[in-house]
Symmetry: C2
């Protein structure tokens, strides 16, 4: 009998206080403990869960940012991961020299496993953050091969494709989804982008979005957990500090995904036929 | 005062008879005339509307296929386009030497403007057709810059991206959409792929899918017309021989699309950050 590779993933929506690292550590600690209590082995927090998002410029975003090596939020999440035996993925402002990146960390019981720097900055984010300089990466963990993206990255199909081409089983997407000015009844565009990315790459996606209003910008929550065929397992969450969970099996699904004649999105690609701007 | 560049596009669902070119010419003629009567300047027909789809092998598909130069379906659609002053886009089996492609033609009042050969063959299609050998192309018409894809191509985000990078305003997608074995309540995956492609490329998409059952394979209809922000303008159509229409403005929307800070899917791309299998 094979050991099960399935586990519970949670998306925990929070409403960060801009600039208040301590308040946000307390808020995310509470969310992580609650999610662990629900059986989660992996807890995904929103984008910029450590310090808020709507900064005017880099000077201001830097005051709410931290280094990976000794940042207080990273240390708090690492301690919780070790104590509870869980993995945590969350967004934080990352200082590296003169730069402030809109980053996400993946932290396991033994510490930081991976840091991702948001590649696609949206709208006024360009004033407050530096463009991610490391592309997309996948890290091999006991839960599966995990990649990260952040919010607006999901609007670019190249993001999840880049991770899938590197063998990702699961994509984590800390997000601060905002209302679409022309939202129709039915799924949000964020959900549509997430489902299509999961389906067209046969990867699980867990997208955790914040709630609340920051400097006039409302956020929609609406977190979703989508399976490797693009279907909803949990969510969309309401626009409150909710936690959604689902059981997923990134490692166990590898054979099914590789052998699926109905949809073979990597095997049937034809790169020689594509127009590239590279 | 500027002349309006808006026009009505129609997606006309048909239920082709496999192998019966004459019956399908009559069926599509009726659909084209009806759509023109509804005010359509452009009528999109399903994939393989000329001769059916579920062929066993290339020998069989060849018997229902035709050359662009002198094929009876292409001639019939061209005559109708000239007579009615409309544009027609429809799928047909295309013979070129030893090859049979799953192709789509875009035909204007003055004749064939463009032929597209399906790049991504799905499942058993690989037994019955040759892989498209010309990639994706865009043609400049009085209605806007138009590209084509066929059905499963929409599962590959590279398809519409390739067309958008070539300046497409409008993508036409003759399709034979099939039921998904795990369909949830809400939009079909086909619709989700179409909406996400439109949104992430700021292009209109008109996807016309067939109905009926062919050799045991049912089709879902569910045609949609989606605007350049990814929202539904018409559809999903029922699984009957229905026609849906919408007014679209591919040329007139160019300025809005270029100046949109909310979503700048081409301008905010970062090709240097993407993993490529090329």
């Amino acid at each position: 009998m094979t050991e099960s590779t399935a586990f519970t993933v949670a998306c925990a929506q929070t409403d960060p206080v801009i600039g208040d690292i301590d308040a946000n550590i307390a808020m995310t600690e509470s969310a992580i403990r609650e999610a662990a209590g629900l059986g989660a082995s992996l807890v995904v927090l929103p984008e910029c869960a450590s310090g808020g998002w709507a900064f005017t410029d880099i000077d201001e975003s830097r005051r709410a940012a931290q280094r990976v090596d000794d940042g207080p939020t990273i240390e708090a999440w690492s301690s919780l991961a070790a104590e509870l035996g869980v993995w945590v993925c969350g967004g934080f402002g990352e200082i590296d020299g003169d730069h402030v990146f809109n980053s996400a960390a993946l932290i396991g019981p033994e510490g930081v496993a991976s840091v991702y720097r948001k590649v696609h900055l949206w709208n006024t984010e360009n004033d407050a953050f530096t463009l991610g300089d490391r592309g997309f990466g996948v890290v091999d963990t006991p839960l599966g091969r995990i990649g990260m993206m952040i919010c607006y990255d999901a609007w670019f199909p190249e993001s999840v494709r880049s991770l899938a081409l590197q063998g990702a089983d699961l994509v984590l997407a800390p997000s601060d989804w905002v209302p679409n000015p022309r939202q129709q009844p039915g799924p949000s565009l964020a959900q549509i982008m997430t489902m299509s990315a999961a389906h067209s790459n046969q990867v699980y996606v867990a997208a955790s979005s914040r709630v609340g209003v920051e400097r006039g910008q409302p956020f929609i929550g609406s977190s979703v957990i989508v399976d490797h065929e693009g279907w909803l397992l949990a969510g969309p969450a309401p626009a409150t500090e909710a936690i959604i969970t689902a059981v997923i099996d990134p490692i166990g699904s590898r054979t099914d995904r590789a052998d699926n004649p109905f949809n073979r999105p990597l095997g049937d690609r034809r790169p020689e036929a594509y127009t590239s701007s590279k």
